[in-house]
Symmetry: C2
Subunit: 413 residues, 2 copies
């Protein structure tokens, strides 16, 4: 939780955190400012002082809305900085950071840097700052195990409520998609529109984006809506011109966020239009069984990765290859059980590659549970995913309930 | 243009470009791969070899769709890398980059880095790579004057066509908004809905997002739709609960992009509902006059900044303060004349702070022309903005025409 940040800073011996980049679609900046239309900003949080937000004067209203202490970047005269840096804009920016840090009382110690921005120019500026200020140590933490993610791994009740609301919106749209598909008649094995042309993945995706926009949320990362062989490739997003054919697995994985890049939801269902062939039904039943077993076995404060091991064990017992045996496989169970969800679709706690015993199912976490089986060579794949939270009382709770049914009935199907 | 990249690399003595981050909403990666659902990828473009895209195996279909030579990141065994790096994931990632560069034939020389990603972890990885490979020099260019932006400053005909299409969509939505506003009756000086409640900025913004989604585009940076005093602050996005009041300046600045973070359009109109008070009309006429004068004076291959100087001169002659006199002013003409538009809303060529004689109106550029005047103390602001291109023949062309009228008639207005 945000209230853990200073404790974590203390444990790691950080004198300050420096967050840079826009205030939208930039998780660390949204986390500490609340977001808003700032095209570029900086925030310095000293271990022993209040956070200061540095803003572009054209964006003074948005900066003020953060409620934070603010400083106008124009107070650091750019022409003077540039002259002092011999006309080198990288050096001038580094010089400005030096002054900004000093104005926050940070003149020595470790400064940990975060933010989603242009990495090349930021590397150059931070390198110049480090060279000019040997009394500080600029720290970049691994993206998946940063202090920021450690704090964000557990959510307060307001954050959980925001994810839950995104879950309600997401599942409402999924319901609209199911109704939309079911409302189309089948002809020669594919759903057809009024003009007798096949309904395509592209048609469905247009509706998804429209319905999400109607509900005031964004879908910046797109949607996975893939059928048949493509459903056998976990992140294949689907070919827009593919027709909606009966009897094939459709993987529908949807992960929208609040407008401006706020909290996400992450959800997957696997559908078969009209009917399910035996091999698809068998695949689905294997995934469904593992999904239910894992959900029933989750216990508060256990390491998430234990359930990844358990998932591999369960799938292996069913006779499927898993990444526990070979991390390079592309058939069988080929990914992690789940991941935290919040201001990023993928964040701590982790269950798969790189997860540690510190990634626990603590009260306040929000995470996906998403076992799946993939057989592109057999033209099918299946994944079931819900986002859960662990309540303050230690109970596991799905944040937005939705039926897990495989077969979507269609007219003449 | 993309075809200029190797020439620019040669001029700067770069052995390779390294682009990192997701393939969506990451301009350099979209530029070189065409985009697609890749959550994280790397691309290496050696001076004397073909580009190689390194992908996550779950995203192999998306990587293949780029048409580039691809390498599966799983071929660099992570467990082995981690063991070799003593368990340090930053060092292991640096080691992997070293091997990836070697596999592209890059073992020495300057490597320029680009991409929108987490800056802290990338700083750490690049620093580790630099320390481990003194035979290369990792270069981070200033974000506003990078080789990548230099290449992207001029667009080929396909890119211009994509921006033009975004312009058609943008102005169609602006027309829908105008019709929507005009369809509401006024009561006690504000537009009201059927339930007699005031129509608000929040209501209008919901419609904007919906209509953009209907047309299949994204609006990740939001929309500026601000009224009265807020219109006097250039990047104030507007208070959602503010009613649509008659006789006040409304600044409507809209800058959506193709789905997945492709090409943008950028467009602004200033409206007054029902009528324009004299002071608003005078403000508008000053901006309109400067807008038309500047548009008529633009000449191919001239430095863009000359027209910023000219705009300041014209506004000053009208009696307005300008940033030419004082860069910290917040009333009068307070920003640059325009900027390039493409995979980023703001890119080269530049006209304002930091623009050089190299930022010219070359054939193929796409840029905004957006003079404006801001008087928050008087509760008003005005900006007029169109995106133009310079045709291969050297002609200045607005990419999407739309009326410049100030007053939007309303019922009983």
């Amino acid at each position: 939780m945000k209230s853990d940040l200073r404790r974590i800073m203390g444990e790691k011996g950080y004198a300050a955190l420096l967050i840079t980049g826009p205030a939208q679609h930039n998780a660390p900046m949204v986390y500490l400012t609340g977001g808003g239309h700032m095209t570029n900003a900086d925030l310095i949080l000293p271990q022993d002082g209040e956070a200061t937000l540095f803003y572009n004067p054209m964006e003074r209203d948005e900066a003020a809305a953060s409620g934070l202490k603010t400083i106008n970047l124009a107070e650091y005269n750019w022409k003077d900085l540039l002259a002092e840096a011999g006309g080198d804009s990288i050096q001038a920016t580094a010089l400005r950071y030096r002054r900004m840090l000093a104005d926050c009382g940070v003149t020595a110690g470790k400064v940990a840097v975060y933010g989603v921005s242009e990495v090349g120019s930021t590397y150059a500026v931070l390198s110049a700052l480090q060279a000019a200020m040997p009394e500080i140590e600029i720290v970049g933490e691994p993206a998946r195990t940063s202090s920021m993610l450690e704090a964000r791994a557990t959510k307060d009740s307001d954050e959980v409520a925001r994810v839950r609301k995104m879950g309600a919106i997401t599942t409402a749209v999924v319901g609209q998609v199911a109704d939309f598909l079911s409302s189309h008649p089948a002809k020669d094995g594919v759903l057809v529109k009024k003009d007798n042309q096949p309904l395509t993945i592209g048609d469905v995706k247009s509706k998804i984006n429209l319905w999400l926009a109607e509900k005031g949320v964004e879908n910046p990362h797109g949607t996975i809506f893939s059928i048949g062989r493509d459903a056998g490739v976990p992140h294949s997003t689907g070919n827009p011109s593919d027709p909606m054919a009966l009897g094939k697995t459709i993987i529908f994985d949807i992960y929208p966020c609040e407008a401006g890049g706020g909290y996400h939801y992450d959800f997957t269902r696997t559908w078969c239009l009209g009917y399910a062939p035996d091999k698809v039904l068998a695949l689905y039943e294997d995934v469904y069984s593992v999904y239910q077993t894992i959900l029933s076995e989750l216990v508060v404060n256990q390491p998430f990765k234990h359930y990844q091991d358990r998932t591999c064990e369960l799938f292996a017992a069913q006779g499927h290859p898993t990444i526990a045996d070979d991390p390079t496989i592309q058939e069988g169970y080929v990914h992690g059980l789940g991941h935290g969800v919040g201001l990023q679709i993928h964040e701590a706690p982790w269950s798969g590659a790189g997860a540690t015993e510190k990634d626990i199912l603590a009260p306040g976490i929000v995470a996906t549970i998403e076992p799946g089986l993939y057989y592109p060579s057999k033209g099918m794949g299946c994944r079931l995913e819900d986002s859960i939270t662990v309540t303050p009382e230690g109970r596991i709770e799905i944040l937005a309930e939705f039926p897990l049914d495989l077969v979507l009935p269609v007219k003449n199907g």
